[in-house]
């Protein structure tokens, strides 16, 4: 019986092994070598360098800058985007709202739109002279801001874009979570005299906890891998203020062919994401225990 089970699992396991485990292990090994363009041409020109890549990485200012930028992005846009998703979900779940289908569609639309197209449109919105955003702000008396050209504003601009782009996905999951909360709980609470705020904090939030954990972890993992937005909008500039870890890894690996070095970056990122996920799971378990 057990044999048969393994037999049925074999194709899937083989695929996972060949296309997932082997590359991951290979990348891990490569991160301890100086594999680069010299080595692609002639395998005798690469050698085992131990922790050299990691040492270089930790000594490199650009890596730390990319790391700080990535954390800035995750810390700023993670909670904000989850809050906005939840807010939108609550609004759309309210009995007072009409045309729910249309609103859901509209909010979800950015998620399924190609990022490249979105980024190009947003570049026009952010344009310092002719952009819609500065035009709108000019009515409030705000001076022209060079959104993508100013090192202090570039990252907030990327954050705004990616929140707008992504909140619809989490919103849909929150709506599903909200619909799973039994109506009786609210009725009972109302009879007991709980006001709207109390009903939200005492019923909605606790009942949404599993959904929230899922969304937090998925969002964090996704946001740590920030890549396409800066890649298309700013190429990491100005003054490297939007350079993310993954963008840095991509540039080192596929533009300059420093595969060993870039594998080392990948594993540092892996450790960071793993730590973040474990911390969140530990925190949630402690709270529910």
């Amino acid at each position: 019986m057990k044999k048969a089970a393994y037999l049925f699992l074999t194709p899937a396991l083989t695929a996972i092994f060949v296309f997932f485990f082997i590359p991951v292990i290979a990348a891990f090994l490569i991160s301890f070598t100086d594999f680069d363009i010299y080595a692609i041409g002639n395998y005798s020109r690469f050698q085992f360098t131990g922790l050299e890549n990691y040492r270089k990485l930790f000594e490199n200012d650009l890596f730390w800058k990319a790391l700080v930028n990535t954390f800035y992005f995750v810390v700023a846009s993670g909670p904000l985007s989850i809050a906005i998703s939840l807010g939108a979900a609550l609004l759309l779940n309210s009995k007072l709202v009409r045309f729910k289908g249309i609103f859901r569609l509209v909010y979800f639309m950015p998620v399924v739109t190609t990022l490249v197209a979105v980024s190009i449109v947003w570049r026009f919105i952010y344009h310092p002279e002719f952009g819609l955003l500065n035009y709108g702000l000019s009515f409030l008396g705000v001076e022209k801001i060079d959104w993508l050209g100013d090192p202090n504003w570039a990252m907030p601009s990327i954050i705004l874009l990616s929140i707008w782009k992504n909140f619809g996905y989490n919103m849909i999951i929150f709506i599903a979570g909200l619909q799973n909360i039994p109506e009786e709980l609210y009725e009972a609470a109302q009879i007991e005299g709980a006001n709207a705020f109390q009903r939200f904090t005492k019923i909605t939030l606790p009942m949404l906890a599993p959904t929230t954990i899922f969304i937090t972890i998925i969002t964090m993992i996704g946001y740590f891998q920030l890549f396409a937005e800066p890649y298309i909008m700013t190429q990491g500039g100005p003054l490297d203020s939007t350079l993310s870890i993954v963008l840095y890894m991509y540039q080192e690996g596929f533009r300059w062919w420093n595969m060993g070095y870039s594998s080392a970056i990948a594993f540092v990122l892996f450790i960071i994401i793993l730590t973040g996920t474990l911390l969140q799971m530990w925190y949630q378990r402690r709270r529910t225990a």
Binding site: Y38, R45, R123, Y126, L239, R255, W256
Partner: protein
């Protein structure tokens, strides 16, 4: 009755299933068989628009060489290098392709390219004397020739004639001092904080390297194993260019200029150092194809005029892994003929590499072309090492931006640049040391 129908159904399904399963293999079989008897099929990878436009040249080639068939594959420029390297690793390179001439050293290093001396010495068409010296030189690595120039480019000055005249310059500047003086005059004349004289964006490394070379810098020292950007000569040139940013003669950011042609037309800047690919769009945007309001001119120089510029363009290369080199070489020869070169210019506006093509009256008629001819007399190659792209487009641009925004002095920026360049070149030093 019922079971018979079911059985028949089952059989039909089985046949269908097997048929569908085998169907793709038919294609693979015929795909591999593809070549007709006596016809050699060669694969050519063309990049960007060239990959499309080259089709127009093929009928003439087939007329003369019915025994060869060319399969053209289009590859976008942005993905070209990645695709070529992947193809090389997978032992799946085309027979020949076009290669940006600054990429040649990288592929020589991979040992992917076929040296061409043997073919050139036997050829009646391809001769070194047919080409501009600086351009030919870019294809030579370690004393061997790996590419034949196909079309060429270099950077020179696009300028606003009308604005220059108002600023008191009937002729474009010929020296660095004149360039600076003119830029100051233009800004004064325009008297508008939103208008500048020259566009020197920090995300274009070429002008920085050009001015460094003009000042006699060797860019990298000790057989290209150490950076020499903080050396006196490069530093002086870099400092000179930084003046344009400090005195607000050049716009600081890159994001203000979403369309250079528009900005040029509006007088946002009056000087732009760039290549021939801009001519068609400039003509359109300026609504002037006779050179009334704008023109092209060779670069001003530090020691003599015209000042040096970069030898750019694309070369035709053959891959070592190819089994059809004789046929591929015939195609290269065809593309290197004067007539083909002019026809290709007509299709793409890419400047012909063969010098004799430049004498053609129809070609010289364009008022923006002669300046390029003059500039090509003084073009030089950048250091031929695979790390060059990374050094300039990642590091030099990064530190140029830091200096332009005043976060570092020119000297600090160049010292930091050298430090990083030396790290990048570490492996090269080690391999050469062996």
């Amino acid at each position: 009755m019922n079971s018979w129908r079911e059985q028949g159904n089952l059989r039909l399904r089985l046949v269908l299933f097997i048929g569908l399963f085998l169907f793709p293999f038919l294609f693979i079989y015929y795909g591999c068989k593809g070549e007709e008897k006596g016809v050699t099929e060669i694969t050519f990878w063309g990049m960007g628009a060239e990959g499309e436009k080259i089709q127009a040249l093929l009928p003439e080639f087939y007329r003369r060489h019915p025994e060869i068939k060319v399969r053209v594959q289009m590859v976008p420029w942005t993905a070209a290098q990645e695709k070529l390297i992947s193809a090389f690793v997978a032992d799946n390179t085309p027979d020949l392709c076009q290669l940006g001439n600054t990429w040649v050293p990288q592929f020589v290093l991979l040992d992917a390219l076929e040296p061409l001396e043997g073919y050139i010495s036997k050829s009646a068409v391809v001769k070194q004397s047919n080409y501009f010296k600086g351009i030919w030189n870019t294809n030579e690595v370690g004393g061997k020739i790996y590419g034949i120039p196909w079309y060429i480019d270099t950077r020179l000055m696009y300028y606003r004639k009308d604005i220059f005249k108002k600023a008191g310059y009937e002729l474009p500047p010929k020296t660095w001092d004149e360039l600076l003086d003119l830029s100051r005059k233009i800004v004064k004349l325009q008297n508008d904080p939103n208008k500048y004289a020259i566009y020197l964006p920090t995300n274009e490394w070429a002008p920085f390297i050009i001015f460094g070379i003009q000042n006699g810098s060797d860019l990298l020292k000790n057989n290209w194993t150490y950076g020499n950007f903080s050396g006196d000569k490069f530093l002086e040139a870099f400092d000179f260019l930084m003046k344009f940013h400090k005195e607000r003669l050049s716009p600081l950011g890159v994001s203000q200029v979403t369309n250079v042609y528009q900005a040029f037309e509006e007088g946002y800047f009056s000087i732009y150092i760039s290549g021939p690919w801009n001519i068609p769009d400039m003509k359109k945007k300026m609504n002037d194809s006779t050179g009334e309001k704008w023109g092209t001119a060779p670069l001003p120089g530090k020691n003599g005029y015209p000042g040096a510029s970069l030898a750019g363009g694309a070369s035709l290369v053959m891959f070592k892994q190819s089994k059809k080199k004789e046929a591929a070489w015939k195609f290269i020869e065809f593309l290197s003929e004067k007539g083909t070169q002019l026809a290709f210019f007509g299709e793409t506006n890419n400047l012909p590499a063969v010098v004799s093509a430049w004498d053609e009256p129809g070609f010289k008629k364009d008022p923006f072309i002669p300046a390029f001819y003059e500039q090509f007399q003084n073009v030089v190659a950048t250091p031929k090492i695979p790390e060059w792209e990374q050094i300039v487009s990642a590091k030099l641009q990064q530190y140029a931006e830091y200096a332009a925004r005043g976060k570092m002095t020119a000297k600090e920026a160049m010292q930091n640049l050298d430090r990083e360049v030396n790290i990048i070149l570490e492996k090269r030093r080690r391999l050469l040391g062996k």
